[in-house]
């Protein structure tokens, strides 16, 4: 791996703190991180980052943080929180990044499980959470906050500011010269580098243990694969607790030495993207969906000429865009000319307004992506590649290589990764980036990692003719209808979710005679549609119950059914009846994970009455639901939900309809 000039060492096993020291020595004056302060981007050089980390590590050591201790890190993407990762690792401790939007009680388990005594958090909001759980987590003794706003009246023992901690650290380092370097020297590549708690779609969270060598090896394989250098730009805008974000903006940056920028706030990401112009971009499907919905809404509101031009060139792009990007199939001269014109008028400006003008490769992962969404980005010239992996495998298992992108697969396994399929289709993985085990949970470790070192992913899939892996669903979610045909709920849901009007969908059908669906409308898109159709509404619940909205959704489902009817294997999973839910599925209510994955079992339990009604004959169902507000209070929403039928097609009829439309 010495071929990559970005690497600061020979590529042998190492640790993150050592990488930091090397970068500080090799490219000390180059920017390592950037953040916006008072509206102006400010850079932190590698040398500065080293000094900041040293001061922080000194401070932690002065407070009694020892080798093997765990450090909770909670907040938005801030450079200081990234420094906290390295500082903990430098002392031989383990950083535990957690989701900043989790409510306090959701954090209790991780604190208890890992006996966390130190927490470095972003602001007052997080400090309040720490104080709330302190009784349940008596080990938690030291709370360090980054933003001092509103913290004036917190005089509890153990709370101190980031500045104060660094001040203590500089003092400590002065009295103990060489301490920082000596501690880093003691660290071994096989040491635990980080602990990620996976929310899991079922049960208690599990702490995934990843070592320095696993993370760094994966990062290197990947930089080599893509040829990432020290000049890349990246915007870190996803939760730090998500392995994908961590890998991309921490591991990858440490390995390749490029600069990572932190957005000003969660709401400014679009603007920050345009200003930074990242060369690599990582987005879970829901973010890509959100962007697409925004684009579509804005286009609907644009003038007649713009709208016509947009739709004309988008149709062209869908036809030839992906082919041109891949360069595998020939494209006619006239189409090429037209595409060039489209690039000038539509695609270029669109890429620019999405902040993706400089993007070499955009990745998506986290959840299977609808083929249509995929085609959209590829066709406007954004090189969108899917990758596949889990926290347990340090993400990278499969990546679509440039030029060989197929919308419905996740690509072939990366170099060094082995994949085996079980009889029921479950995917088993072996990789240098494999986790050590679940933290203090032998039983769970044994269940998912067998004696031969294969990790059982729980996903079902198969290889296509070209050796690309195709994921259908979670293995345990794939069910059968009563007539024995396969039923993959996620496949239906993804198809539904491509419509901008549908935000979330949950399909049912396992052990039933046909499929049904529960729909969450996208309140922005449908609200905009309602406005343009002079339809008044007071809020989500009201809008969701409108007859006209039901008609709108019925059309979407009809189109999905038509699509399904063409595939004999899937024709039976057409959606017969549906309901539009009166409230949005929410992670606070336990219906989604923090990464917004549907928690099927919990939903099935909670909305049992609705599901029964979907399979009954009635036209409506009465529903009462508990909701949790952001401030932790809870209330009840009561509603009468309409249940509607959707048109289904026999396969032959569907083929006829398609021909007629063509």
């Amino acid at each position: 791996m010495a071929g990559n000039p970005a690497l600061v060492d020979g590529g042998g096993p190492t640790t993150f703190p050592r990488l930091l020291l090397q970068h500080a020595a090799v490219r000390g004056d180059r920017p390592a991180m950037r953040e916006k302060d008072l509206g102006i981007w400010q850079s932190h050089s590698w040398a500065k980052v080293r000094d900041e980390v040293a001061a922080l590590a000194g401070g932690l050591a002065a407070m009694g943080f020892k080798r093997g201790d765990n450090l909770a890190i909670i907040g938005e993407n801030r450079p200081r929180l990234y420094w906290a990762l390295t500082a903990a690792q430098a002392l031989g401790g383990v950083p535990v990044p957690m989701y900043q939007d989790a409510v306090a009680q959701e954090m209790v388990f991780a604190f208890q499980n890992a006996d966390i005594a130190f927490a470095i958090v972003e602001d007052q909001e997080q400090v309040d959470k720490m104080l709330e759980i302190q009784l349940q987590c008596p080990a938690l003794k030291h709370i360090v906050f980054d933003d001092s706003r509103g913290m004036r009246r917190y005089h509890q023992p153990g709370i101190l500011s980031f500045e104060k901690l660094q001040e203590l650290g500089r003092e400590f380092n002065k009295n103990n010269p060489g301490f920082f370097e000596a501690e880093i020297e003691k660290g071994k590549p096989s040491d635990m580098a980080a602990l990620f708690f996976t929310s899991g779609t079922t049960g208690l969270p599990k702490g995934v243990v990843l070592t320095h060598q696993a993370m760094i090896a994966t990062g290197r394989t990947y930089s080599d694969f893509e040829g990432m250098g020290a000049d890349e730009e990246l915007l870190a805008y996803l939760p730090m607790a998500w392995i994908g974000q961590n890998l991309f903006s921490y591991t990858q940056s440490m390995v390749a030495g490029f600069c990572v920028s932190c957005p000003e706030s969660a709401e400014t990401v679009m603007t920050d993207m345009r200003e930074i112009g990242p060369t690599y971009y990582f987005a879970p499907p829901r973010v890509l969906e959100g962007l697409l919905t925004t684009v579509m809404i804005r286009m609907e509101d644009a003038g007649w000429l713009k709208r016509r031009a947009f739709h004309y060139f988008m149709a062209l792009a869908r036809r030839v865009g992906a082919k041109m990007l891949d360069g595998r199939e020939p494209v006619g001269l006239f189409d090429r000319l037209q595409y060039a014109l489209g690039d000038l008028l539509i695609f270029g400006p669109l890429r620019n307004s999405l902040g993706m003008s400089r993007v070499k490769v955009a990745y998506t992962a986290g959840e299977a992506i609808g083929p249509d969404l995929f085609v959209f980005y590829s066709s406007i010239g954004i090189n969108l590649n899917q990758l596949y992996g889990q926290t347990e495998t340090t993400v990278y298992v499969c990546v679509q290589p440039n030029g060989v992108v197929k919308p419905d697969t996740v690509g072939p396994p990366l170099p060094g990764v082995e994949i085996k399929l079980k009889d029921d289709g479950e995917i088993l993985v072996k990789t240098p980036g494999l986790f050590e085990g679940y933290y203090r949970n032998e039983e769970a470790t044994r269940e998912s990692k067998d004696a031969d070192g294969w990790f059982h992913t729980g996903d079902a899939g198969f290889f296509d003719a070209e050796g690309h892996l195709k994921i259908i669903d979670r293995a345990k979610d794939v069910g059968r209808l009563t007539d024995g045909t396969m039923f993959a709920p996620k496949y239906l849901e993804n198809k539904l979710k491509f419509f901008p009007h549908i935000k979330e969908a949950v399909a049912f059908g396992d052990g039933r005679e046909h499929a049904t669906a529960m729909i969450n409308i996208d309140v922005d898109a449908v609200g905009d549609w309602a406005e343009r159709h002079n339809l008044g509404y007071s809020g989500y619940t009201d809008l969701a119950g409108k007859r006209e909205v039901y008609e709108l959704i019925r059309d979407c489902i009809a189109r999905v059914n038509l699509d399904l009817a063409q595939d004999p294997k899937l024709a039976n999973s057409q959606i017969h009846r549906f309901v539009i839910l009166h409230k949005e599925l929410d992670a606070d209510d336990g219906e989604l994970t923090r990464t917004r994955k549907v928690r099927r079992r919990i939903i099935a339990d909670k909305y049992a009455a609705i599901i029964e009604a979907l399979y009954g004959a009635g036209k409506s169902v009465q529903m009462e639901a508990q909701v949790k507000f952001e401030d932790g209070r809870s209330g009840t929403i009561r509603a009468d939900l309409a249940i509607a039928e959707a048109p289904v097609h026999a396969p032959a009829e569907a083929a006829r309809m398609i021909r007629k439309a063509a």
């Binding site: 008072l38 004036r152 000003e264 400014t268």
Partner: protein, 262 residues
């Protein structure tokens, strides 16, 4: 960390104020004081004279009788811009922002009184003007950061939802670095979440900048939660004055709010 919120001396004293518009007596013989760093609420039913009181304090209305002492200085027939230059800023019940201008520009107008360079050098944007503008912009950016409105920095105010416009208006008042901030129904027309946000900001302003705040508010819950002392007006007369608990148990106040059988 110094505690900026130690309540200090009287900063504003209102004595025997009476104000009439023709035959209508808007305020009669009102006296109260405001101490440094405190949050002082003025409450009362509709038409009680709350906004009139605020208008008297910042010099829009000139009372027929009574005196106002601000920072120990007696004021007589004061004009609003003079009051503003003494360190009083306010927000309005009906938002009064420049709708076509961006949030940033609206906040910059709040710095207007502090801009010292002449119109010519401002037009040329050179030398001292440039330095001055940078200084003001820095302060405005601090306020943007404080109020968490980075994402709408360049959005025209007219395109913003009501709750955010209210926040921008607070921002403009803060841009003037006031010692006394007058808020006229800062939470009117907001939903619960927006109200909570606004409460947080009002408390934070008070705590971080040590700004003394006089606010008018209808929402009793809000008032009782965040204010140090409360004045109650009804039909232009003062019927109660004290800490929230005192006011809450004051019979005259209860009667004014709930109605009383005659």
């Amino acid at each position: 960390m110094s505690d900026a919120r130690a309540i200090g001396e009287v900063i504003l004293a209102v004595e025997s104020i009476s104000l009439a518009f023709g035959g209508v007596q808007a305020l009669s013989n009102i006296s109260f004081d405001v101490r440094e760093h405190e949050i002082r609420a003025i409450i009362g039913p509709n038409g009680a004279g709350k906004s009139s009181m605020l208008n008297v304090i910042n010099g829009v209305y000139h009372p027929q009788q009574g005196t106002i002492h601000f920072k120990g200085e007696k004021r007589h027939r004061m004009e609003p811009h003079k009051v503003a230059s003494q360190g009083v800023a306010r927000t309005f019940q009906n938002i009064a922002l420049f709708k076509g201008m961006s949030v940033l520009d609206n906040l910059m107008t709040g710095r207007n009184l502090m801009m010292k360079t002449g119109i010519l050098s401002q037009a040329l944007y050179w030398g001292a003007t440039q330095r001055e503008e940078l200084k003001h912009r820095e302060r405005v950016e601090e306020i943007i950061d404080f109020l968490e409105i980075q994402s709408i920095r360049k959005t025209p105010v007219g395109r913003l939802p009501y709750g955010l416009q209210k926040r921008v208006e607070l921002g403009r008042a803060l841009a003037a670095e006031p010692t006394l901030l007058l808020l006229d129904e800062p939470m009117a027309g907001m939903n619960v979440e927006e109200k909570q946000d606004m409460c947080r900001f009002v408390l934070d302003v008070n705590e971080e900048f040590g700004t003394t705040i006089v606010l008018i508010e209808h929402d009793m819950g809000v008032v009782m939660d965040i204010s140090d002392r409360v004045v109650v007006l009804d039909y232009g007369k003062k019927i109660g004055d004290g800490v929230p608990d005192e006011v809450r148990s004051n019979q005259a106040v209860i009667d004014a709010y709930l109605g009383v059988q005659h």
